[in-house]
Symmetry: D2
């Protein structure tokens, strides 16, 4: 079974707002950072997806904010694919602090399109990309369990 490490980094100063906390729009960006990282760890660097003539636009995004992050905090994102359909798929995000508290969670949904933004059913046309997403979704949240 595939095992990956969660995505983690420090909060940047410019991510804060005048309330002294991370501006809520940045979590949507953190989700993207984590999504790119998990897919690359799974063996699919972005250049490969692009070289295959595929783009993966965001169809929806949502976030629940539980406890704010502040400048200097380290956050850790566990991003996983709960299941992988024929057209759309979603990614779930859990954002933890260094003490292991869940401070935010969210979801994005996506589809595969070609360079003219037409939907692509990758199962037939892009086997390798399909296999990696499929393997990610089979692991689900267990991606981050210790072996």
């Amino acid at each position: 079974m595939m095992r990956l490490r969660p995505y983690s980094r420090r909060v940047f100063y410019y991510e804060t707002d005048k309330m002294g906390i991370v501006h809520h729009s940045n979590y949507i960006r953190w989700f993207e950072e984590a999504r790119v990282d998990v897919i690359e760890q799974a063996g699919l660097p972005f250049e490969t997806v692009e070289a295959e003539g595929l783009m993966v636009p965001v169809l929806s995004a949502s976030c629940e904010y539980r406890l704010p992050f502040r400048f200097g905090d380290v956050f850790t994102v566990k991003a996983y694919i709960p299941d992988f359909g024929k057209i759309r798929f979603s990614v779930i995000y859990e954002v933890y602090d260094e003490e292991g508290n869940l401070r935010a969670n969210g979801e994005t949904t996506h589809c595969f399109v070609d360079m003219e933004m037409r939907p692509v059913r990758i199962k037939n046309s892009h086997q390798r990309v399909y296999d990696i997403y499929d393997e990610l979704s089979k692991a689900g949240r267990a991606l981050y369990d210790p072996e």
Copy 2:
């Protein structure tokens, strides 16, 4: 009944990404721009809220992306409060292009807190702020109907 104008401006160059479209995280920022604008139009500039010792953090945010915006496009946001509870309230957003097509829509939820981030029931303590939010929620989406 209260009548307001929708919030509108051009897309900035720096809001685009390498797909050539507005990066999805920016819609969450547009929601904030529109929310601040509608509340100010309703008679409650941010300085007033802050002078009353209140902050209005975001508890959740979500967006559905239907059709992308590109650099130079003009977007228009209709932001309204569907109803106004005792503790939490939500704001709904509809984002239109110049032809009147709905290109995105979303929602944020909020509560009122004091400067120590403790929840405040403003109905008792901040009558004027309450009245304006209440009036906004009574108008609902009809805020933007022609009189």
Copy 3:
């Protein structure tokens, strides 16, 4: 002589940082907003430049911060082209508050390139684009003088 209106808007909440002031990186973005606006006012919408196969990358940028802006402040940028050379040109920015105080100023330098990022001498190849930039640079800072 060409006369234009300065670029102006309110500070957005998400542009502030935990010091309670606009984060310094945003001024570089304001410069871009003002630059796009002045060139469009001069008769050259971005789509035209792009349709001519030209891009205008930034070669350098600088800003001096005199007095900070805060959320809700209105800023006004006077952007002008002090002179227009054969290859490079620069744009000067003066950022004012509502009382007319200069709170920041800066400069960016640019060149014209084709879609493969090769420099283009537009005087010969893109007469109309050249003429508009030339006219802007002849007006210089007087663009914003009352007639």
Copy 4:
């Protein structure tokens, strides 16, 4: 002599613009990331500076763009303090790609202020902070030389 490691990370997707390259405003943010990192490596985490009642605003910033970065590239910043005056000081930045090419360079200037934004001569009042900055400036660019 103090020895530090340069600051390094991958370009994020949301840092790109429709030209397909990193938007120029983000380099000013990278400078901040690197500045925070080098000062923390030198033994002065941000919390300490803040606990001492000090803020370090940016008085000016500049950047020269030589070769663009793209999504997925790794950049490395060498940030150092060329000299440390009584009131103002500057930080120099060199941004390298993975092949060791200098792709951008820049400078920011700063001063120390108290929580009311009044300038502070830290030599007398904040000896420990002064000593660390002084040591950084004595190392200069040699901070990043192999021992």
